[in-house]
């Protein structure tokens, strides 16, 4: 990472997005400290995905600013900034017409890397994501859901971005695969030391992966804190309700 790249904090200041006059995101202030993982949780339609999509520049806020370190996100620098962000969606968001290898290599090809450099980088990433190299020649349709997700993660990490933005990446996986990938993501976050925003509706997943949790409802952040904060000192009845509806408290205790 270059020194001026946005390794630093992600900071949102009075960010509002409205659809048909209704504010779907209305965040007065949110800071994600460098090299920490913030889990964004909340019920469906609470605005957590829209918030994440604003960070990638796929949705433009009606007002407010989003900063990566010292750099404010604008339509003009959006594309350059995206090269510093890794974005992962459900099922990996792989392109069906490209092999796993070419999916990962896509941006490098656009940037004009030579074949040797690309191959070396993809090998490193495959080892990191625990993807057997012989699967790289397969098309997405020939991979399992978990394998697709590993490839999606490799693609996001290709340029070694300072920031990882993940939108319910494990949402479509069966419980066994999901549990294994949760373990591996935890390991990766620890190894790679990236700033991560992780969207999920699963409280246990949020508690397991996030250094901190931000709980959203109707576009607003209701409470921000550790899993223990949310469990033991709920800011309002909704927080208790949401936490209890999700998991037996025992599981959350274990995550502490």
């Amino acid at each position: 990472m270059t020194p001026e790249s946005p390794a630093g904090a992600i900071a949102l200041d009075r960010v509002i997005k409205r659809y048909d006059g209704r504010a779907v995101v209305d965040v007065a202030s949110l800071v994600v400290p460098p090299r920490t993982c913030l889990a964004l949780v909340g019920p469906s339609g609470c605005g957590k995905s829209t918030l994440l999509r604003m960070l990638v520049g796929l949705v433009t806020p009606d007002q407010g600013t989003i900063r990566f370190g010292d750099v404010a996100l604008t339509p003009a620098n959006r594309r350059a900034l995206r090269l510093e962000l890794g974005y992962v969606i459900q099922e990996g968001g792989l392109f069906p017409h490209l092999t796993a290898f070419e999916n990962v290599a896509l941006v490098a090809r656009d940037l004009g890397w030579n074949d040797a450099r690309i191959a070396a980088r993809v090998r490193v990433l495959a080892a990191l994501a625990h993807l057997p190299e012989e699967l790289l020649a397969r098309y997405p349709a020939q991979l399992s859901g978990g394998q697709r997700q590993r490839v999606g993660l490799m693609r996001a990490l290709l340029l070694d971005p300072g920031v990882l933005l993940m939108d319910e990446p494990l949402g479509a996986l069966d419980p066994m695969v999901r549990a294994r990938l949760q373990q591996e993501l935890k390991r990766l976050f620890g190894e790679l030391r990236k700033t991560v925003v992780f969207v999920t509706h699963d409280m246990a997943e949020a508690a397991w992966l996030g250094d901190e949790i931000a709980l959203m409802r109707d576009g607003r952040i209701v409470q921000r804190g550790t899993a223990a904060d949310l469990l033991e000192r709920p800011a309002e009845p909704f927080v208790r309700e949401f936490v209890r509806a999700q998991r037996p408290p025992v599981a959350l205790e274990a995550a502490r």
């Binding site: 520049g57 796929l58 995206r82 974005y87 969606i89 968001g93 069906p96 017409h97 490209l98 020939q142």
Partner: protein, 511 residues
């Protein structure tokens, strides 16, 4: 959207259009120092007259070429006024009705003045009238003493079989019956060809005919004289460009030589040679000139069947290849452009859709004044017809990509160009290819109409065969055209394997 890129795209398209215009300019006949071009419409009598004049011009030392089968009146008239054709045979009734749109007014001086205003001259009558008439069998004529239409009134039992069109037209049977008091006759509606068979078998006494129909001589029919002047005159004349007087003065002499000499009897015989005895129109023209001017000419050798099929197929492929190629090169970018905004999509798709609805003959007639005759108007028409499936399928293919994948491509930080070329177009490729395939097959079929504007191809034998009712000739065009369509289909199916990414086919085949 980036303004600079759009700008380049437009500039590219303008260059393409300029190249097309230049190509069209090359394909259209240049005005000066070229042979006199004799045109003819798509029926035997017109071919024979065209061939006869071409022979006469050559004999007088005027370089001349014959462009036969130039569709109907609209097309050959457009070709004349735009300079693609210098002279062609026409009928006074058609000039009044179709060209000048003054039905019934066949006064020569008025017509000459009206045509001169458009740079066109009209010759003296060639010598025969090719209009409607009623003809009866020689037996009936002898038995009932029939020579004139007014004789019919006294024979209400006469068995007349009339074509449905003639029965329906106000200037056909209803008007005729009124003028001659024939209300007591009870004609039967019958198809024209069947009427001849019925006359030959003695099942009918008379039918409506054109006065130079080949069958008149063959069946020994007697044409009844129109003694009360009911039928409009369709006297054959030459229409020619007035600038011939300057460009090729000797051509006018040749045209004059072919007026006032050819009567109905001679024309009927010449038509019979081609229609009934399957002679080549050049041979028929030679005999006609021999009979009427007492001069003969050596006939050029006809190419063999295999050679002519090969030549027509090659020409057909050329028309299809160039027009389809242009449609792909322009249609795909237009389809991409349409995805930029809803307004652009509406505009692009409705223009392409509108073009598709223009009848092909109308489109060809419209293009001739702009591009002349020959390959250019045919190529442009085929190009326009090929456009819609390609534009629409490209648009649909791009807009049906799952939004999450479109966003993933953007979120990766790919340049707009890479998003289009590395992700969006490859994913849309199955739809794009399906569009191209549809266009190609339509194009192979539609290209048979190119023969109407003198562009040749497999439509040439089909058109000639239809006129001559010679099925073998029709098949010489129709079978290779059908085979070509199948071949094109197979070629594009094979091309799918190369062009459509394997990963997409896996998805289509898998579970």
């Amino acid at each position: 959207m980036i303004p600079g890129r759009t700008h380049t795209m437009w500039r590219g398209m303008l260059q393409m259009l300029a190249a097309m215009a230049a190509f069209a300019g090359v394909a259209a006949p240049a005005a000066a120092a070229t042979p006199v071009v004799v045109g003819s419409k798509a029926f035997p009598e017109s071919w024979i007259l065209g061939a006869a004049l071409t022979r006469q011009l050559e004999r007088d030392g005027v370089p001349a070429t014959h462009r036969r089968n130039l569709g109907g009146t609209d097309i050959v008239w457009q070709a004349l006024t735009s300079g693609g054709v210098d002279v062609y045979p026409e009928y006074t009734g058609t000039i009044a009705e179709v060209i000048l749109k003054t039905p019934g007014r066949t006064d020569p001086d008025a017509m000459r003045a009206a045509l001169a205003a458009q740079g066109v001259g009209i010759s003296a009558p060639i010598g025969f009238n090719d209009g409607y008439a009623i003809a009866v069998t020689a037996d009936a004529a002898r038995r009932d003493g029939l020579t004139r239409l007014s004789d019919l009134a006294a024979h209400p039992d006469l068995r007349l079989g009339l074509s449905h069109e003639f029965l329906g037209r106000a200037d056909g049977w209803p008007g005729l019956a009124k003028r001659y008091g024939l209300e007591r006759l009870d004609p039967t509606g019958i198809q024209h060809e069947l009427a001849y068979a019925a006359l030959a078998a003695g099942r009918l006494d008379g039918t409506d005919i054109y006065t130079t129909d080949a069958e008149i001589a063959d069946l020994h029919l007697v044409t009844l004289v129109d003694d009360r002047g009911f039928f409009p005159r369709y006297d054959a004349v030459w229409l020619y460009r007035l600038d011939l007087a300057r460009r090729a003065p000797r051509a006018l002499a040749a045209i004059r030589a072919l007026t006032g000499r050819i009567g109905e009897r001679e024309m009927i015989h010449a038509n019979a040679r081609v229609v009934l005895r399957k002679a080549d129109e050049n041979a028929a023209a030679d005999s006609l000139l021999m009979e009427t001017l007492g001069a003969g000419a050596s006939a050029g050798g006809e190419p063999g069947v295999a050679a002519s099929i090969a030549r027509n197929t090659l020409q057909h492929l050329k028309l299809v290849g160039i027009s389809l190629g242009l449609a792909i090169v322009l249609g795909v970018p237009f389809g991409v452009l349409a995805t930029r905004s809803r307004a652009l999509a509406q505009l692009t798709l409705s223009i392409a859709g509108l073009l598709q609805t223009v009848p092909s003959l109308a489109l060809l007639a419209f293009l001739i004044p702009l591009l002349g005759i020959g390959a250019a108007p045919a190529l442009v028409a085929l190009f326009l017809y090929s456009l819609l499936p390609i534009v629409r399928n490209t648009y649909v293919g791009l807009t049906t990509i799952p939004p999450a994948l479109d966003e993933a491509a953007a979120a990766l930080g790919l340049s707009p160009r890479a998003q289009l070329l590395r992700v969006r177009l490859p994913m849309a490729m199955p739809a794009v290819m399906a569009g191209i395939k549809t266009s190609a097959v339509i194009n192979v079929g539609t290209a048979t109409l190119a023969a109407l504007v003198g562009a040749g191809g497999l439509g040439d034998p089909i058109l000639t065969g239809i006129q001559l009712r010679r099925h073998a000739l029709i098949l010489q065009g129709a079978i290779p055209a059908a085979a070509l369509a199948l071949l094109v289909q197979a070629l594009f199916d094979a091309l799918d394997r190369v062009v459509v990414p394997k990963g997409l086919r896996l998805r289509a085949e898998g579970s």
